[in-house]
């Protein structure tokens, strides 16, 4: 049960990060967001 809730939290955070990736005005901060996205997606799908 708690795992499902936490996956949901990860999904919401990942969506917010993607949103941020598209609203950043500098490439380096876009890249920073893209980097952070990688582990979030892997955990959301429970691959790692």
């Amino acid at each position: 049960m708690i795992t499902v809730v936490y996956r949901l939290i990860v999904v919401v955070v990942a969506v917010l990060v993607v949103w941020e990736l598209f609203s950043q005005k500098e490439i380096k901060w876009q890249a920073n967001a893209a980097l952070v996205l990688i582990p979030l997606v892997l955990r959301a799908f429970m691959l790692v």
Partner: protein
């Protein structure tokens, strides 16, 4: 540099590309190792046969029964409690594939924490697998993690409270099978695995239960045998017998204050004599140099040589290192000696095991020769 929607899209694509490239490497760890049924194996059960709650979970694991068909005692050998301690599970696999009991029953769980085999410890840089050269060619085995995969048990609490005692440990220990005993049927996956193993010990009326581990060379309890108080006599005799074969092994009583470990809880919760053994694995130590498959196999490491010269290690260590074959040889030989000695007092309860290569054979030919 100015970021636009286009650059954002490009970076998102790059992230997705990395995900596509890297995912198969992680998921490959879920493919089980091949373990062959040896001539002594009479039944292959699952841990869920002893605790149904584990059925169809990543915690279920194979239990090999080697029954001589003749009355006698029952011995249990557990490997892979910590899947980053390969001499334990390779030793157990060797027993599955080679041992032939002629009296009593031998039960082997080679991969006690099956979930731990499906990933690696973060920030440890471990290899995912290693190859042994066998008569049938190269054979691969996974090198896993000390703990249950977070994919199967997540999130960790801030603090792990051992259910039976209230003892507190750092949160990630929640996934450490050897802190979870005696386990709980309604607990975490790790606690359920622990519960299943304790159920097995009780139901099979195991007389002697051996847990095979490794530790880093700078850890004080190393090349050692940790015994529950009821196993004291057996442990002492076995240590003397091993000494005669020029295998030095330290004796450590199981501390009453340290809870959740097999040598404490198996002994307290069941009628078995509980013993845990450690060999020295440089690939899991904190002082090791480059971490790779070669280190797992040869146990040779320059940093450990330096640490040995500094007097920081609890084992003799030189350029020959601590090869996996040597560590497996120690475990297998000590296991055989323990099984023999434990039933000396009551021959009706004896377990006699044949077919297992000797210490010298494993060291000189390499463990792969017997797999």
């Amino acid at each position: 540099m100015v970021g636009t929607k286009k650059t954002a899209l490009a970076l998102l694509t790059a992230a997705v590309a990395i995900l596509i490239l890297v995912t198969p490497q992680f998921t490959a760890m879920h493919t089980a190792d091949t373990i062959n049924k040896g001539p002594g194996v009479t039944a292959v059960k699952m841990l869920s046969d002893y605790f149904a709650g584990l059925k169809n979970t990543p915690g279920d694991t194979a239990v090999y029964v080697l029954d001589s068909g003749k009355p006698g005692g029952t011995a249990l050998v557990v490997g892979g409690t910590h899947p980053n301690e390969p001499s334990g599970y390779i030793g157990a696999i060797l027993l599955v594939e080679k041992a032939r009991p002629t009296k009593g029953k031998l039960i082997v769980i080679p991969q006690a924490n099956a979930s731990g085999f499906t990933h690696n410890d973060y920030s440890e840089g471990s290899p995912q697998r290693f190859a042994l050269t066998t008569p049938g060619g190269e054979r691969w085995f996974r090198y896993g993690s000390r703990a249950t995969n977070p994919v199967h048990q997540w999130p960790d609490p801030d603090i792990y409270v051992h259910a039976a005692s209230g003892q507190k440990l750092s949160g990630s220990e929640t996934r450490n099978l050897n802190r979870a005993y005696p386990g709980r049927p309604d607990g975490t996956l790790t606690e359920q695995i622990a519960y299943g193993i304790v159920e097995l010990i009780s139901r099979e009326k195991v007389n002697l239960a051996i847990d095979l581990h490794e530790a880093s060379p700078e850890y004080p309890v190393i090349n050692a045998l940790v015994f529950h108080e009821r196993a004291m006599d057996v442990a002492a005799i076995a240590a003397l017998d091993l000494e005669m074969e020029k295998i030095k092994i330290g004796l450590e009583p199981s501390p009453k204050t340290l809870r959740g470990l097999s040598h404490r809880e198996w002994g307290d919760a069941t009628g078995a004599m509980a013993v845990l053994m450690e060999t020295a694995n440089p690939a899991q130590g904190r002082l090791r140099g480059a971490t790779n498959e070669a280190l797992v196999l040869t146990g040779q490491d320059r940093m450990y040589e330096r640490a040995a010269k500094l007097g920081r290690l609890f084992i003799p260590y030189d350029k020959n290192g601590q090869p996996l074959s040597l560590r497996v040889a120690r475990h297998v030989t000590a296991t055989m000696v323990l099984i023999r000695d434990s039933f000396e007092k009551d021959p009706r309860q004896a377990v006699v095991v044949t077919g297992v290569p000797s210490y010298r054979e494993i060291v000189t030919k390499g463990v792969g020769a017997f797999l």
